[in-house]
Amino acid sequence: MKTKYLLIAFCFSLLIGVHNLACAQAGKVYDLQKPVISIPFEVENGSIVLTVTLNNSHQPLHLLFDTGADGIALTQGMADTLGLQVTRKQSTSVVGGNMDISISENNTIHLDTFAIGGQSIALFKTLKHGVDGIIGNNIAKRFIVKVDFDTKQLSLYNFGNYKYEPGGTTVSFTLSKGLIILTCTLCLTAGQSDTGQFVFDSGASYGLICFRPFVRKNRLLVSGFIPESSGSTTSMGITTPTFTGKAVSFTVSNLTPINNLPVTLMAGSGQDEAWQPGFDGSIGIKFINHYNFTINMQRSEIYFKPLSKADQSN
């Protein structure tokens, strides 16, 4: 879960370029409600998986649409298959130590007939099971991204005076380290309310997790919370115990509160508690897929609209 934040650093420069591009496009005349491209996606274990191709290869790649990452990543094995060239290496500080990441630059990714060039791709020995790689917020930096679970379509729109369909709610976010951060309020037990900054992470398989510093600071595990199960999460050789149960309610910014939401809380491992993720927690796909959502980086907002279907994607 923490590994994907590795992608933040190498794509940071891209972010700056994107805003310039967005400003240039704003002055042109587009049919703003017509998508640049609309492609189907598959829902696997609740997550969004896109089928794309890379450069001149016709081999379909299955990429997890992961807003908890800032760029594109592929497995080293798939990169070798496609003949991607490593153009540079980057040492990145991560939880538990440093990791050297191989990066292939200046690739073109194809979403059906639509090509997006100049893409840097990070190569990892292993990534999430069942996908060839992940695609993060880099497309959201260049286009408005609409994810519709009802039709299972992901659509890209040019920045501009985009109008959201009625029936939803606009939520403002901040960008931090290339990630989308939402202000959320957790009512874990009756009478306890804690507000924090949560990563909007469509690549995470859970619904809601609170990171250790937030759990510790607000004494979430020792204030009457009754866990239903326990487990652990391991990242970079560090295993963190977790406890999962139901929160009385969870509210993303100005959205309607969701009651009895499953929440996972990170507990102390008895070792060094110096890990500072920079955020208070993360909202995963099992929460996100209750909504069709549109990410609009230009306005720093996400438009949430509850699914129209009774049977939601999870």
Partner: protein
């Protein structure tokens, strides 16, 4: 069985008959998966000291008859007496009959002749058993602070009224029982934090009992702690929790011991911490470093006597004493004597092939030997592998290209016994005349070892 009981009674009578006019008679059934010895402990200076052991009959019957040395708490159980595991408290002053059945993790009273005091103690044990189970039996179940803290706080609240309407009429016991409840709660609390768990709380997550836990409540006077069977263990736990709350790091040597005793207000009990620290040492210079600065807290005659018992064997190994003249074969079978190395400073590494930390020192040992190859230093590695692992040892010596003299002493060797080497790796330095420089020297991975060798060469 009867004969055994009588012989036990006579033996104990000789020791303690002067204080108690009537013996205590204990009969029991051991209802455990395996028949193991049952121990009877008295309380000495905050620890449970075994005074009798009985191997039950094949159907689990056991018994003790003894004259209690004092009125107060004793312990019965199949445990070692070091922890609260399989160790149950009872109160005797003489003349009582106790009948009990011991299971794998608890006990029940049986019969109708048990004293009021022991009935109250058992009621308390029954009440607190869910807490004891989670705190002491940490390997059974998977309790963490998330479930323990709220349950413990509830037990603490209920314990405040536990003794209501349970007055026995024995004023001495009734007062002692109030105290035992507080000491038990603190013991379960500290033991819980000090034992392996899948999750551990940060200090910010401590529940109110842990936040308020104050060592001074238990260690201002010696008597309450000394008369509690797990008193010293509790004091260690209180120190550990307090240091954690204060963010104090553990340190070696006098500074570390000073940090610990600063938590305890009573000087005599400070002395117990000093003695505990001294008892773990393996060389006289380390002993002197602590004793010279903190030995002033070793106050009572009893403590002084224990201090002498700790110092005597260490003094035999102090700097300047003749080193033990070892003599072991190398990989070719040629026997190497320590006296063969006279004229050289000797670094001895006691190790074994199965010991990970020992193997971790090998690269440093090789590097040190290379750096000092022109110096008059003999590098001697003594393997304490079992005889059956001789070939494994030879292979590792070859595979790892280990340098210096490689000797095979086996796990049953006099060198280890002489220097009380219970843990490895262990490094020892002797001067050019074979006299002790340091029998627990720094490791090759520590720069202090090279400095010590160079200093010894210069002398």
């Amino acid at each position: 069985m009867i004969k055994k009981l009588i012989s036990a009674a006579l033996f104990m009578g000789m020791s303690y008959g002067a204080l108690a006019q009537s013996p205590v008679t204990i009969t029991g059934d051991l209802k455990t998966d395996h028949v193991v010895p049952v121990n009877l402990y008295k309380v000495v200076d905050g620890k449970a000291n075994a005074i009798a052991q009985e191997k039950p009959t094949r159907d689990g019957k056991f018994g003790f008859i003894f004259y209690p040395e004092y009125e107060g708490f004793y312990v019965i159980g199949t445990g070692s007496g070091i922890s609260m595991m399989d160790a149950y408290k009872f109160y005797f002053k003489g003349g009582e009959k106790l009948s009990l059945a011991i299971s794998d993790t608890s006990y029940t009273l049986t019969g109708k002749e048990n004293s009021k005091e022991n009935i109250v103690l058992t009621q308390w044990h029954d009440f607190i058993y869910p807490i004891e189970k989670k705190s002491v039996w940490f390997m059974k179940g998977n309790s963490t602070y998330v479930d323990f803290f709220p349950q413990f706080e509830t037990a603490v609240a209920q314990s405040k009224t536990f003794l209501d309407h349970k007055t026995t009429g024995d004023a001495h016991f009734d007062a002692a029982m109030k105290q035992v409840i507080q000491f038990d709660l603190a013991s379960y609390a500290t033991n819980f934090l000090q034992t392996p768990r899948t999750a551990h709380p940060s200090v910010e997550e401590f529940s109110p009992y842990f936040v308020a836990l104050n060592p001074a409540d238990f260690t201002t006077y010696t008597q309450p702690l000394y008369s509690y069977p797990f008193g010293i263990r509790l004091m260690d736990g209180l120190i550990a929790v307090t240091m954690r709350k204060n963010g104090t790091k553990w340190q070696k040597g006098p500074t570390g011991v000073k940090t610990m005793i600063d938590v305890i207000p009573n000087d005599t009990l400070k002395g117990e911490i000093v003695l505990e620290s001294l008892a773990t040492l393996k060389n006289f210079s380390a002993y002197q470093a602590i004793n010279d600065t903190l030995g002033k807290y070793v106050i009572t005659d009893n403590q002084k006597s224990r201090n002498v018992a700790i110092a005597t064997p260490l003094a035999e190994l102090k700097t300047g004493e003749d080193g033990y003249k070892f003599s072991y074969p190398d990989s070719t079978g040629k026997v190497v004597n320590m006296t063969d190395l006279k004229g050289k400073v000797i670094l001895v590494d006691v190790w074994a092939t199965w010991c990970g930390p020992c193997r971790g020192e090998i690269p440093y040992m090789k590097k040190l030997a290379e750096e000092m190859k022109d110096k008059n230093v003999a590098f001697v590695s003594i393997s304490v592998d079992k005889v059956k692992d001789h070939d494994k040892w030879k292979k590792m010596v070859a595979d790892e290209k280990m340098t210096g003299l490689q000797l095979f002493a086996t796990d049953q060797n006099d060198f280890s016994k002489y220097y009380k080497i219970n843990t490895i790796p262990r490094f020892l330095v002797f001067d050019k005349t074979g006299k002790v420089v340091n029998v627990d020297s720094p490791r090759p991975s520590e720069p202090e070892l090279k400095a010590l060798l160079e200093k010894t060469l210069a002398n």
